[in-house]
Symmetry: C2
Subunit: 399 residues, 2 copies
DNA sequence: CAAATTAGTCAAGACAATTGACTTAAAGAA
DNA sequence: TTCTTTAAGTCAATTGTCTTGACTAATTTG
């Protein structure tokens, strides 16, 4: 009969889509700017005062915003600012790293309420999954105990782990990869194990989300986070949204070959894995973070030697990021201890010339972002909250 | 009194935004799938039959779609497909290249109605602008003569030229740059000179737009066009939209340094400029395109030597693009003559390993796109048409 | 104390999608 | 043939959401 080829089309939208979009726009404005009056919101979103009033009433009813003390500014009736209610929503963030797993609980404005971590046994998902699930369960339990209505305002679980995802070839020999984990249906397992709405992204992307929410990328539409963790990656904020690529592997800059001939990648010289190897320390050591931090702070020559070597590749990475993404700024972030990160930043100067190298820039080419072992988990937790409220294209489409 | 810091927020939307979005979704579906019945459209866009009917009636009244012959498919009333009317809208596309400028007129479905080109005198915008404006004027005049109502359905002028834009440092010595043009307020000049709605993008981006509209990227949401022209660039289709970066310079992969130490870029070995230099031919020669094409087709050893050298860097470029963008496919396109492009493609095999190198891919890692000197102008022309009708986030925001 | 200015509300109206019943047109079954 | 099923498409009423314009409220300025 007729060919039943699938028809490709974007989804249309309707009244509810409009309304959802406007709600999200308002929440996003409040997150970005702090408390705002209805009149301010109306101007900023280009909606009418009345529309904003209606939506605010609804949001207040939903327990997502509350009024603050009214402020006088010159002539006219004083305005009543409304701010987000931290307890309006909660999410759990989960990081699965090479040797450790971390889980946190955050609220609507990004405050971290609970942190827990556990060593991840060797043996991949088989032995690791119970540990991870238990950790999540512990965080959830404690959250439930601490905040009465948290459970029903828990919007989801955001998980992050090193990429790349969906590769079929086995890179078991590559110390920077987590092959068994990457082939494991983590999302489904977590979803089944917790009953929560689960999202999965790579650690660099999660870090970028965290930077956008509360860090150096706050309010920026084009920013790239150069993530230095056990491996190296880039988290991409492009056009105001996190970009993940066709299969969630965008930004895996650590795997970029440094030249057309060689087999060396950025990760070989600049990842924390390479640092541990260089120093001959055991990455499983429980106090490794503070150990590195102390040695870096004391300008340990072994550390400085690694920093010099790593800076060469990181400098090139920044050049590359600037050249291909044209961001407003590049943010160095990740699990590197603060003292180490500061030294890396310094060693990367001067940056290589690039298109981003112009006078009268508003933002520096390279900024130091969060150097917090919990940053990835924070970003992971931000994902479900963002999904629930951010103004994004997909959000206005019909469900 | 109070601090009048600017408030950052996304714009809200209203009924007209909804309606505009749905119109655009429908037009886009028709462009992507060809003629579709109202029922098909309703299913594809997830709008109701009635809504689609209303919009179709409006679009038909606007002269953008017409009904085709009804088709029977099994039981039920036969459907009446509607297709885009080519004469529904027109746009002018303009390419400004190093030594030549091209202008075309296209219709709503992308047919090229008129092509004109002119040599661009040395001396930059001062001597070049009159030539460009005259060329545009010529195309416009001929369009007006050929199609009576074209003038009032002319939605804009899309211009493309090599990037990068907005650099303040002077690279007059760099033969791959067009410094004076890049610092020239082309957009304003064209706008003032023609009275049209003008957009400006780089040539690689324009080429990507063309590939998305009628080429290998048709219907893809994540595709990168590796553009080999006088310089080298990448046109980025990310998340279904063209991505340009913070300042329109995203994808300038030709300027990426090949290693952290050196000063060599992809453009040095793989651009047509490097080919002309390698061959010792004058890039101003009027028949240069067919000349290269013939020599390539005859497997001229000088050409083949260049191909080998260029392929090394292009292979690396593909690896890099796959690693940082994670696209569904990479498309080799640009102003290279067909015979040369085919040889480049062949010489690039085998590709370097990357995350994209997995079995059961749906699309090849690298495809040959348009090898048409007019592709850039076509893509440039698609921009105003797309702007007028595409479903994009910005389109649903309040004007 | 009146005028100006700004925040915010009220009630009616406008716009655009939805709903459900209906009409039309074809294929297949009895 | 005729009845049933299926699918396309229309009609008219309804619903959801934003806009409009007039209004009230609260404050500063002259």
């Amino acid at each position: 009969m007729n060919d039943k080829r699938p028809i490709r089309a974007t989804s249309g939208t309707n009244h509810e889509g409009t309304s959802a979009h406007n709600r999200r726009v308002i929440i996003d404005a409040l997150r970005l700017n702090g408390a705002l009056s209805r009149a301010d919101l109306a101007r900023a979103t280009r909606l009418t005062k009345q529309t904003v009033s209606n939506i605010m009433e609804e949001l207040e009813g939903d327990g997502l915003v509350t009024s603050r003390e009214s402020v006088r500014h010159g002539r006219g009736q004083p305005s009543t600012p409304y701010g987000l209610v931290p307890e309006g929503a909660f999410a759990i963030g989960l990081q699965i790293d090479r040797h450790i797993t971390r889980a946190i609980a955050v609220d609507l404005v990004g405050n971290v309420l609970i942190r827990k971590e556990a060593n991840l046994p060797a043996g991949g998902p088989t032995t690791g999954t119970p540990v991870v699930l238990q950790l999540v369960q512990d965080v959830r339990m404690e959250l439930k105990q601490r905040v009465a209505q948290a459970e029903k305002r828990l919007v989801g679980l955001g998980a992050a782990m090193p990429g790349p995802f969906g590769l079929e070839r086995d890179d078991a020999d590559n110390p920077w990869m987590m092959g068994p984990w990457q082939r494991f249906p983590l999302l489904e397992t977590l979803s089944a194990g917790t009953g929560l709405n689960v999202t999965l992204q790579n650690d660099a992307a999660a870090c970028a989300t965290a930077e956008r929410m509360v860090g150096a990328a706050h309010g920026l539409d084009h920013a790239v986070c150069l993530y230095v963790g056990y491996g190296i990656g880039a988290g991409l904020i492009l056009g105001g949204e996190l970009y993940s690529g066709a299969r969630g592997n965008a930004g895996e800059i650590g795997m970029a070959l440094l030249s057309s001939g060689g087999r060396r990648t950025v990760e070989h010289n600049a990842s924390l894995a390479s640092l541990y190897e260089h120093l001959g320390v055991d990455p499983m050591a429980p106090d490794i973070y503070s150990l590195i931090d102390k040695r870096a702070a004391a300008d340990d020559p072994d550390i400085l030697a690694w920093v010099e070597k790593a800076a060469v590749d990181l400098r090139w990475s920044v050049h590359l990021i600037e050249t291909v993404f044209d961001p407003q700024t590049v943010i160095l972030c990740g699990g590197a201890p603060a003292a180490l990160a500061v030294r890396l930043m310094a060693a990367m100067q001067p940056l290589l010339p690039s298109n981003a190298d112009r006078p009268n820039r508003l933002l520096p080419r390279l900024q130091l972002g969060m150097t917090d072992p919990w940053a990835v988990a924070r970003g992971a937790a931000a994902e479900p909250i963002g999904h629930a409220f951010d103004p994004r294209f997909s959000a206005i489409l019909k469900s």
